[in-house]
Symmetry: C2
Subunit: 338 residues, 2 copies
């Protein structure tokens, strides 16, 4: 078991792994409270660009950083050694590549995942990956859930995060380092439920985008989302029963924002497919990773194993991985929704 | 107790009271199945215009009717006498004016409310108004709930209705007369719950519009909606406990479509207020009745009586009826949401 984070929030050393839009948004949040933020970015180019320009060269370019407060590296061992809390915010497909380089001591650190996807090589969620491959127990893990599109953080528009973590002291510290006039933080004990729901909502957002691309209207999408949250509840109850209200912001709120917002890349991927793009060309046309694509494969496998029949997940899987017609699959799906 | 509707759906005589957009949409739905639809419109001008042009002169003007199948009147007694099922689809503020003219025998009829508002003179919901003023018991009542914006029905975009009614036979008949290739019908026994939730969602939609008008973004609105459905559940449990899942389409779906759709007049009213219009000028600028305005007063009174503290309802009430600043009320509200 890990050393407790006995430091005060002012002194706790926090770092972020990743240089995409959500990682950049988290660095911005942390800088509101922390004297220094450690930031491990993808490569020397990104590091140099941030140090020269004061902003991420590719994502949230309007967010300017006080460079004196940033400690930028490309070395995950430097990041982890220098920090008590490490916020993981790389796309799930790149997580293993980074983590496999980890050689320093990390057993007393808190790993906090802001990743909403499946680790493809292991076809499993991040919490399990960290536990199984790195012996990081759930007491040393936390999950950061939304609804929180990074683009709105950049604009300092009020957003709510939910931090799921086992120990109340850790929850307090995470709340304090992340809170600001535009970020409010809820806390929760449902680490795995929050992680699974964050993954599922990306699949549902792809489906919402497909429906929209196919020409279904607002009335239908509302019915679709109300079915999606019920499906999500069925999944969570089957996989990880826990006293939870799926209508809390981290579950329903995150589902809604991802299914409706034009900032949602998963919704946009679905929309292209609904409009007739092939899955391959839709993915290629996007500059950012749509986590839901990989998640669909992993979650579908779990459903199959657990004999869960979830009509929306099935329809999205058949469209993305079985080459089935979006139009036909959704026509069938409409009969299964209520 | 009423005579049962023993007729087959093909022969059941159905009528609609009202000539607004939702009434017009319902007439369109019924014409897919019924040989004749009885339609009681507001006045002779509307009657003449429909008979001459084949469409409603003001609402859903693109919907053309087969006039041979329409029996149009301005006399509620003619409507009720000629029908087994009467669908009430006038704005709630005009319902009493119509119903007070009722002199014919109506005790064996099924009154089906598609109204989502409070009857202002009685400050009560339609189901209670019909029961208390006309001795129409709940066994002779039904409620039609959405999510179903009339504008999308006009476009024949797939929509789902929920019909809440006590008797299964009546549910079957209503399902059959309303279903078509663009309308799917769920059934429910929760008559009062469906009516209350349809009223509440209009208040929440005004609040969503206010937030949007004030500049709050997608992340916040998603948190707001997830709080709204929890508030709705608290209200329904307090007023009318019943085994229900508020994530069913008629509750959550209807809330989402009303809070998000640009077709939502309640959302639009809120949006104008959020942008700085006075409540009075915002109402005056709209050509259609925003039910949520009147509903806020009625629901707030119920909350006060039942000592229910519902932060969103309170904030919307204070803005609409107490002249308080939308900006300040929402700033306070953000601390109460989770």
């Amino acid at each position: 078991m890990a050393k407790k984070l006995t430091k005060s929030p002012k002194n706790v050393r926090v770092g972020v792994l990743g240089s995409g839009s959500f990682a950049t948004a988290i660095v911005k949040m942390l800088l509101e409270n922390c004297k220094t933020v450690n930031w491990c970015v993808r490569n020397e180019f990104v590091k140099g660009a941030i140090e020269q320009r004061g902003h991420n060269p590719t994502y949230l370019t309007t967010v300017n950083f006080n460079l004196k407060k940033l400690q930028i590296t490309t070395d995950i061992n430097e990041l982890v050694s220098n920090c008590d809390v490490i916020i993981l915010a790389v796309p799930s497909i790149y997580l293993a590549e980074s983590m496999e380089k980890l050689t320093c001591d990390y057993q007393d650190k808190l790993f906090c995942s802001a990743i909403k996807g499946i680790v493809p090589k292991h076809n499993d969620i991040v919490a399990h990956y960290l536990r199984d491959e790195f012996k990081i127990g759930f007491k040393n893990q936390a999950v950061i859930a939304g609804p929180c599109h990074a683009e709105e953080v950049a604009m300092e528009r009020l957003s709510y995060l939910t931090v799921a973590v086992a120990e109340q002291d850790d929850a307090d510290i995470l709340r304090e380092v992340l809170s600001s006039f535009y970020i409010k933080v809820n806390t929760s004990c449902d680490i795995l439920g929050n992680e699974y729901s964050a993954i599922l909502k990306n699949i549902y957002a792809i489906g919402a985008g497909i429906a929209s691309g196919l020409g279904y209207g607002d009335n239908f999408i509302a019915v679709y989302v109300s079915n999606a949250i019920r499906e999500m509840e069925t999944f969570l109850e089957a996989i990880y029963p826990e006293k939870r209200d799926v209508n809390d912001s981290a579950y329903l709120g995150d589902l809604i924002v991802t299914a409706y917002s034009l900032f949602s890349r998963n919704r946009n991927l679905g929309n292209l497919i609904g409009k007739g793009y092939t899955v391959k060309s839709a993915i290629q046309s996007m500059s950012m990773v749509a986590e839901g694509y990989y998640a669909t494969n992993g979650i579908y496998a779990i459903c199959k194993e657990k004999k869960l029949k979830l009509p929306i997940i099935n329809a999205v899987y058949d469209i993305l991985y079985e080459g089935k017609s979006a139009e036909k699959q959704f026509a069938k799906l409409t009969d299964k929704l209520t």
